[in-house]
């Protein structure tokens, strides 16, 4: 029995017109699927388009073109009321900046219950509050915290409140847009553990957008590598890390710092410059290596990648 993907993105393009002469092509034709209960890691550096992808999928921007099918409903173009409701209740987002993601003037109780309030998803105030308390306990905080204000919490705690706000809607997919990048290392671990625990209990899917490769490898089932708005390689975490084909992926992996002085002091990273590489992302198509492993290349480029695939990283 084949599972239907919970999210299916096909040829998504997000362009921003700055003025008559200049358009920023933040996302320029990417396609990928996410299966229910899976974590898909979207990795890239600044300017790769990863945050834009997340925001386009959740319709904070209006996609320039392409199809986004979520739970069987098309949400990429003009949306029907039903599609909007589907989107706004079953897909949620957690944001990067713990200082800015919560309304400083609202109590934590109201912040977490916001989704319920908007969609009138409760029959009594007690029911509403009770749901909030459950969420607080789920994310490792307690009931008393509901009457406090965001500024009284630390960064990690605020991020957990953001998670509670997303979870209370019982979504099928959560997009984590650099959700841990702004946190201290030991707090990152706390939040990641929490996300994994929740996934085990609720079979929720994550689109995990990040630039920290070690964390992405740890949490993701499959990974997509973005560069300059194109998905240059995608595969399982294992495939990407042990058998990367695209030179950009290779350079990214070689740049990961190891917390091991013996290795780190002698490591040098590969350089990769798109302009000088001779590759043309726009001319490439996705070439299959295994059922899960694909790389963006033209025919020639692909041959070259295969030849060099076992070169040292």
């Amino acid at each position: 029995m084949e599972q239907q993907p919970i999210l299916s993105v096909k040829d998504l393009k997000q362009h921003f017109r700055i003025n008559r002469k200049f358009t920023v092509k933040a996302v320029d034709g990417i396609s990928f699927d996410i299966m229910p209960g899976e974590t898909y890691g979207l990795v890239g550096e600044s300017g790769s388009g990863k945050s834009t992808t997340g925001r386009s999928i959740i319709r904070l921007y209006k996609p320039t073109s392409g199809s986004i099918v979520f739970n069987g409903t098309e949400i990429g173009g003009k949306m029907s009321q039903k599609a909007i409701k589907e989107l706004r209740t079953n897909m949620q987002m957690i944001f990067q900046d713990p200082m800015a993601c919560l309304n400083p003037r609202k109590k934590v109780l109201d912040i977490i219950a916001e989704g319920l309030d908007i969609h009138k998803a409760y029959s009594s105030v007690e029911e509403r509050n009770e749901k909030v308390y459950q969420m607080l306990e789920l994310v490792g905080l307690s009931r008393e915290h509901a009457s406090r204000y965001p500024h009284q919490f630390s960064g990690g705690q605020r991020q957990r409140i953001g998670i509670a706000r997303a979870l209370i809607m019982n979504p099928d997919l959560i997009i984590a847009d650099e959700a841990i990048s702004a946190l201290d290392v030991s707090i990152q671990a706390q939040v990641v553990n929490l996300m994994k625990k929740i996934q085990k209990e609720t079979n929720i899917a994550y689109l995990f957008i990040a630039h920290d490769l070690s964390m992405v490898k740890y949490i993701s089932d499959r990974i997509g590598v973005l560069h300059l708005g194109h998905l240059v390689e995608t595969g399982t975490a294992e495939e990407i890390f042990t058998n990367p084909l695209h030179p950009y992926t290779k350079s990214l992996l070689s740049a990961i710092p190891h917390p091991n002085p013996k290795v780190e002091k002698t490591r040098t990273s590969l350089t990769y410059n798109y302009e000088e590489s001779g590759l043309d992302y726009n001319a490439g198509t996705q070439h299959k290596i295994t059922d899960t492993h694909y790389v963006l290349a033209t025919e020639e480029e692909f041959k070259s990648f295969i030849e060099h695939q076992h070169d040292a990283i």
Binding site: A100, I118, L141, S147, R165
Partner: protein, 308 residues
């Protein structure tokens, strides 16, 4: 090591006695308490507040309880310097200046209230809509605002005076024409600042309507700046009326306002200086007090206090 006194169970694990997984959160500290505290610590703002309070009280009481009527002409009493019976003296027509001053203050305070109302209902709403929706809406609203703003107020007033008689209503209409513009600009700027903040984006992803977002998410976060700005526009509005009255476009005789008093007094400045000096000081002091309160509010409500 010698300076330490060891107890017998020192080197045993604390273990179960403490719960290391329990999260500690700082105790609640309501924002308003903090802000009020800061406001009252500021001597300038307290003085300003007290003075305004005195003005309000006197403006209400004096014209009611005083034996002198503000409009009654009695040439036998004209131009008396300040003394026991006439605290601020009398003017050319024998009218008690003390009564006229506080009667005039009523007008100034009334203008202050009207300015705030216009600021809030027109200025803030205009700015919020323009700022939040952006794009074409913003473009149209801003261009319209710029056109309105570039019409000189004196021209507006003169036009109004051709169809209406000089009165408080006329002044208020003239005021309303442009009073809301600075406020709407400030509001729009504040909205633009906050619009892309993540908690607003979060509301959008949760499906909130624009209305909900503007009034429940954005407004509470910018209301501090707006209050401060409001306070600051009051002296301008008061002075605007005074200025109009001074140039003779204001209230008709025998109405008194701080501006008309200064105007009347200026005619006799070289002979009876008190007639101009006293209302001028009164006007200046009132404006200063509002400015002090506005400064104090700004320091008290400053959003940098958001962090722990």
């Amino acid at each position: 090591m010698d300076k330490f006194e060891f107890l017998p169970d020192d080197f045993e694990f604390v273990g179960e006695k403490q719960d290391i997984t329990k999260d500690v959160v700082a105790p609640a500290k309501p924002f308003w308490k903090d802000a009020l505290g800061r406001f009252f610590k500021n001597k300038g703002s307290v003085i300003g507040l007290v003075i305004i309070a005195i003005y309000v009280i006197l403006a209400i009481i004096v014209p009611i309880i005083s034996q002198w009527n503000y409009a009654e002409i009695n040439t036998s009493l004209s131009n008396i310097s300040p003394n026991g019976t006439h605290i601020f003296g009398t003017d050319n027509y024998g009218r008690d200046i003390f009564v006229r001053l506080w009667r005039g203050t009523r007008v100034s305070l009334f203008i202050a209230v009207v300015a705030v109302v216009i600021d809030v209902f027109v200025g803030v709403t205009y700015g919020m809509i323009s700022g939040y929706f952006g794009g074409k809406v913003d473009n149209i609203l801003q261009r319209f605002q710029e056109i309105v703003n570039s019409i000189p107020t004196l021209v507006v007033l003169t036009l109004l005076l051709t169809v209406m008689k000089p009165s408080l209503t006329t002044i208020i209409i003239a005021l309303a024409f442009t009073e809301w513009i600075p406020m709407s600009r400030i509001t729009r700027a504040q909205v633009l600042k906050i619009k892309e903040d993540e908690f607003v984006l979060a509301s959008r992803t949760l499906g909130a309507s624009s209305f909900f977002i503007i009034f429940k998410e954005i407004l509470p976060n910018i209301v501090n700046q707006l209050i401060i700005m409001c306070m600051m526009t009051i002296p301008n509005a008061i002075f605007y009326e005074a200025y109009l009255s001074f140039v003779g476009l204001g209230l008709p005789i025998p109405e008194a306002s701080l501006g008309t008093l200064v105007n009347d007094g200026s005619k006799f400045f070289l002979v009876y200086a008190y007639q101009m000096i006293i209302p001028s000081i009164a006007l200046a002091l009132l404006m200063l007090s509002f400015n002090l309160v506005a400064d104090g509010l700004r320091d008290a409500l400053d959003p940098t206090m958001k962090e722990m």
